[in-house]
Amino acid sequence: MRLHSSALLLIGVLALAACNNPNRFGAGGAGGAGGPGGYGTDGIGSAGLGGANDPNSPAYFAQTVGDRVLFQVDQSTINPEARMILTGQGQWLASHPQYTAIIEGHADEQGTREYNLALGARRASAVQEFLVSQGVQPSRLRTVSYGKERPLQVCSDESCYAQNRRAVTVISVGAGS
């Protein structure tokens, strides 16, 4: 399973990063909001987050550059805020050619399952197109949609839905998949 092996590789990278960069926040101190939000990174503990201080680490990408952008209801348009984040993602990817990325598209629960899969794919694709327009090689990017299968927030109101309508750029190791 490609996603899982990528995630495992990432765990290794992050763990290494943690060793090389003493965690000034204390173990686990950097956990919580802003942590990796991609489904593919589920299971990565806070041990790796110390790497967020290393501008070359995927953790830095996730937390400082910003790994996700949000969308309006039933939309896949890249808004100005998303544009800023994605510009940063494009720059980071350009200067870190050893990494590839999987862009995960997600939808909130207010929709039918199959439509939401297609909607998530539209969102992931919109991010991919933007990154490619920033100069990222298309072969370094793949998209996947989880539709409404993997919400980040579990409440059933707009405060959660807004967080769930997202595309997350999950960094993985290795040239083109």
Binding site: R113, E114, Y115, A121, A126
Partner: protein, 498 residues
Amino acid sequence: MGAAQAVPLLCRAERSAPVQVGHADVAGAVVPLPYAAARNEFPRAAGKVPNKEGVTPMLRSLTWALALAGAAFTAAPVAAQDGPLRLEITEGVIEPLPYAVPAFVAENAAAQQYAAEISRVVASDLSGTGLFREIPASAHIARVTSFDAPVGYADWKAVNAEALITGAVSVSGDRLTVKFRLYDIYSGQQLGEGLQFAATTASWRRMAHKVADAAYSRITGESGYFDSRVVFVAEAGPKDQRQKRLGVMDYDGANVQYLTDSSTIVLAPRFSPTGDRVLFTTFETGFPRIKLLNVASVTAQLLPETPGTMTFAPRFSPDGRQVVYSLEQGGNTDIWKMDLNTGQSVRLTNTPAIETGPSFSPDGSRIVFESDRSGTQQLYVMSATGGEPTRISFGEGRYGTPVWSPRGDLIAFTKQNQGRFHIGVMRTDGSEERLLTASFLDEGPTWAPNGRVIMFTRESAGAGGEPRLYSVDITGRNLKAVTTDGAASDPAWSPLLP
């Protein structure tokens, strides 16, 4: 599909010539019992009823609720008519038909437990439709101690039973034989000939379902749906890390068997027209892909796919040879059709819109699907070979997950409007739309094999929200939860089993 499938029962033997009971004890045999020769055999009853009433034996007519597919949505009540016991399933239920199903007679000691349980499953099937009301055993006057003894019609009439189901069960080794007869109490006659089902003891629930199907069919004139299965997604765990696996169960939730483990997300399984295969969507490669599963061997294979695409929303053609599905490439989702023998696919739609949820008409000539080409999700019908589709949904809100009824006359769908979800039905030209349910989240209808009942997913709101399976008649009546061990979603009904 478990033991029941291992020993398929033959049905529809009602149409064949009566056969001696002695010939019936064959694996999978369903044999009509010798006719009980009602009038000669039951002189007491036959004589009593007309005397008591002072009229010729004649059945009280029964008008029934449930929009029948063909006559669906006719608002006019069906005219009462005199004649044999017959439940006309039409608009406007009056009241369920009262019936009695005394414990089946155990013809030997080994049959005792089965006899009691089989008659309970028959009652559960019939009463579960909302069309029939069982008269409890505590109210019975008559006791049925022998399958072939004359029926005391007056005693059943006295407790207001209009139909009586009697049965007998015998067990020899792992062989189980079930016999049953259906009586029309008001006319004092047997309704149809007796039937006998024989199979392994492991298939006892299927035999009960077959008895209930035969009774339902004789009384309503509709084919039954009890001897059928439902494939679904069993869910567990928190909402943001839900674990999903495929399960298959009897239509009433019994005999659950799991077909996949929970190691990856699986979605929206669909039965083949013969119930032997299941298509579903799996994330096992990390990306949504369609898998074809053989139910008996529980082995599955991924369907061929163009690299870099996502494929999902598969459904069989009525001949089982083709799969219509959604393929996403570069963010755009269109409808494709694959020949299962060659693995070759052809594209059926080609627009920048999201096009998904395809479902064949039962004659295979047309496909209904959803598209947001107009700006929101709406339903369209096109030729099964593609071409310009016709939009059929025009009401307020969004329409998705269309499914063509097995009778061909209706399309069931999910509708979203003003923050609520509904399951609804409309004619295939989009007319006579009717919403059957409303909740925070209802979606994904699937049709019972006879096109009278719809099962769907209902999910509750909030952090602790979870999906459950529900069913509802196409009249909107008899909404009820389907019993499952835990959370469940994405039901797909099998055809009536052979």
